[in-house]
């Protein structure tokens, strides 16, 4: 490649958009071919084809189930979860004017982790895990928000501090629950949940978790230019005509919905909400008008790919929380080298 990667991406906005819309679709398509049940590529193509023709196929119904009810839901869930984590990470980094912040900064992940652990001990039903994890995530952010309002002189720093406090309190509570949990039944479930996985994905689950994720994503996409202005800091954003408390509340609300929706079905998946935004920044710059949609696409694709690798690599499944950084780290270093640090 003669042009540097950076210039290549920055020069062609149209190619860029096609690429970032086409890339997730390709990821979805090719991921249908990956799974533990041995299905040949031609069979899979036939199964996919049968959706688009009226011809009756004489394939065993189990094949249909594997593609449409096992593989596809998981892929779509991966896309949504990865996208949600990355998009909220991007939004938070700009909002709090700090590139080292991730989607979990306001305590969403630890809150959700606590909710899930509690549900595992008390009920051990998947539905209750989702509900309590979601509620835990939202509660944590609400608490951070309230702490941030105690002393109002520097709202941004107070809010982050609130998040740090709430996160550590919930982490302690998680440890407490682990300590109390039945070491043969509940403790392994808690540990596995906290490491993150898409394995539970069924269409029913996606439907529940997709609502908050889609609402959050849509909100962030709509407000994305305002996020640029908010990143100028409170006073400047107000002097530029923004009702900053309302605008900030919307961004925090949407990011929290998206992240809580993601975490409650997938468990805690680190890294995506911190580094995917930076990959986006390296590739296309910092303007949130582009960066927000691209984070969504990159995050989604990244998680699908990592999930595929996690399933192929060993007989069992490697938890996502382990693989995201193992695969993402070297990739990020490669990009840093290739783009010569981008705009940083």
């Amino acid at each position: 490649m003669k042009k540097s990667l950076k210039n290549y991406f920055r020069g062609n906005k149209k190619t860029l958009f096609i690429f970032f819309v086409a890339f997730p679709l390709l990821c979805i398509f090719f991921s249908l071919f990956i799974g533990r049940y041995p299905l040949s590529a031609s069979t899979i193509l036939k199964i996919i084809g049968s959706k688009f023709t009226t011809e009756p196929e004489n394939l065993p119904p189990i094949y249909q189930t594997i593609i449409w009810n096992v593989r596809l839901p998981r892929i779509i869930l991966g896309l949504l979860v990865g996208g949600s984590l990355a998009i909220s990470g991007t939004a938070f980094q700009s909002l709090f004017r700090n590139p080292l912040i991730s989607s979990g900064i306001l305590g969403v992940s630890s809150g959700a982790g606590f909710g899930a652990s509690l549900a595992i001990i008390l009920f051990n039903s998947p539905l209750m895990i989702y509900l309590l994890a979601f509620a835990g995530g939202i509660t944590a952010v609400l608490l951070s928000y309230l702490i941030g309002r105690i002393y109002n002189t520097n709202p941004t720093i107070m809010l982050i501090l609130g998040g740090v406090i709430v996160s550590s309190v919930f982490s302690s509570l998680i440890s407490f629950l682990k300590y109390m949990a039945d070491p043969y039944e509940d403790l392994p479930s808690i540990v596995f949940w906290l490491m993150g996985s898409l394995a539970t994905a069924r269409f029913k689950d996606i439907m529940i978790a997709a609502i908050p994720m889609l609402v959050g994503i849509t909100g962030l996409i709509l407000i994305r230019w305002r996020i640029n202005v908010l990143s100028m800091g409170d006073k400047e954003a107000r002097s530029l005509g923004l009702n900053t408390s309302l605008n900030k509340a919307i961004v925090i609300f949407c990011s929290t919905l998206a992240t809580a929706g993601a975490v409650c079905v997938s468990g805690i998946i680190g890294w995506v909400g911190l580094v995917i935004p930076h990959i986006g920044r390296l590739l296309i710059g910092n303007d949130n008008r582009l960066l927000i949609p691209i984070s969504l696409s990159l995050g989604g694709c990244f998680l699908i790919i990592v999930d595929n690798i996690g399933r192929i690599l060993t007989g069992g499944e490697i938890p996502l929380g382990i693989l995201t950084a193992l695969i993402g780290g070297p990739f990020f270093v490669y990009l840093l080298k290739k783009t010569k640090g981008g705009a940083w």
Binding site: S94, R97, N98, P99, L222, I223, R224, W225, R226, N228, V229, S231, M232, G233, K235, E236, A237, R238, S239, L240, G241, L242, N243, T244, L246, N247, I250, R281, G285, N286, D287, R289, A343, W344
Partner: protein
């Protein structure tokens, strides 16, 4: 007599229990410049932020076009007053044109992005300020003078009739300072903009006066406005001595075309 665009009446402000300023009266009329001169920490920035509606006076009121600023929404204020802050903390390396585009925020509704017309306005102000060549540069790498011009362009993109500048020439070198002053002069004379400007340099008031702009200089010290009026009446050797304890000389220079050009030379601090 034209009506004042901005009027501060008996304005007092305190942080918790510390009084920053009290009983301040000021007004700005169309096509004028109001220079606010005073020592570090005397409350100039706080006063400016009150006029912008970012802070709220405890006593007194501020009127913008006859309307109490407390009753106006952020975007209503931003369409009338733009702000050139003294300190701008750069975080993400946005491109210059992306920064300037933010000046269009008051005209953009919450869930929408700027339109083609907003982009045209950006091109227009970039050319006006003379930084069109920097358009695609990350603003984080610019020099002090260049970034000041970028922020000025952003303020101009707001299309407001008033610009509030907080020490627009601080940390600038000799030539860049003059360049900023010349741009401000051109804005007042050609674009009919009115300016409130905090400054540490009394001669800047003379500069605008010498350019033929209607200039008011307000001396702020000890939490109040000590004096306000045309620079030649406010900046006298006697006032500098009584208010700031500074021995100074006013020099005038006749270039034969206009009135005498005046400058203040500070000589020494009077030790008690």
């Amino acid at each position: 007599m034209s009506l004042p665009l901005i009027e501060v009446k008996q304005g007092s402000f305190s942080y918790h229990r510390t009084v920053v300023f009290e009983k301040i009266n000021l007004s700005l009329k169309k096509n004028e410049i109001l220079c606010l001169f005073g020592p570090n920490g005397c409350g100039k920035t706080t006063l400016l932020e009150n006029i912008l509606g970012l802070l709220k006076l405890q006593k007194g009121s501020i009127f913008l076009d006859k309307k109490d600023i407390k009753t106006l929404k952020e975007n209503e204020i931003a369409k009338k007053i733009a702000y050139l802050p003294q300190i701008h903390n750069k975080t993400f390396p946005y491109k210059v044109k992306e920064i300037v585009l933010m000046g269009r925020a008051p005209y953009t509704s919450i869930f929408s992005a700027p339109s083609k017309r907003d982009h045209q306005k950006v091109d227009e102000v970039l050319k006006l300020v003379g930084i069109n060549h920097l358009k695609n540069r990350p603003y984080i790498n610019l020099s002090g003078g260049e970034s000041r011009l970028v922020m000025l362009a952003r303020a101009l993109a707001q299309n407001s009739e008033i610009i509030i500048m907080d020490e627009p020439t601080s940390h600038l070198d000799f030539r860049n300072e003059l360049e900023v002053l010349e741009i401000i002069t051109a804005l007042i004379q050609q674009k009919k903009i009115s300016v409130i400007m905090a400054t540490h340099f009394p001669n800047q008031a003379f500069y605008f006066k010498n350019k033929g702009i209607k200039t008011t200089l307000a001396l702020m010290n000890d939490k109040i406005i000590k004096l306000a009026g045309p620079p030649e009446e406010v900046l006298t050797e006697k006032n500098m001595k009584s208010i700031f304890n500074i021995k100074s000389k006013i020099l005038s220079y006749d270039d034969l075309k206009r009135e005498k050009l005046k400058y203040l030379i500070p000589l020494e601090i009077i030790k008690k």
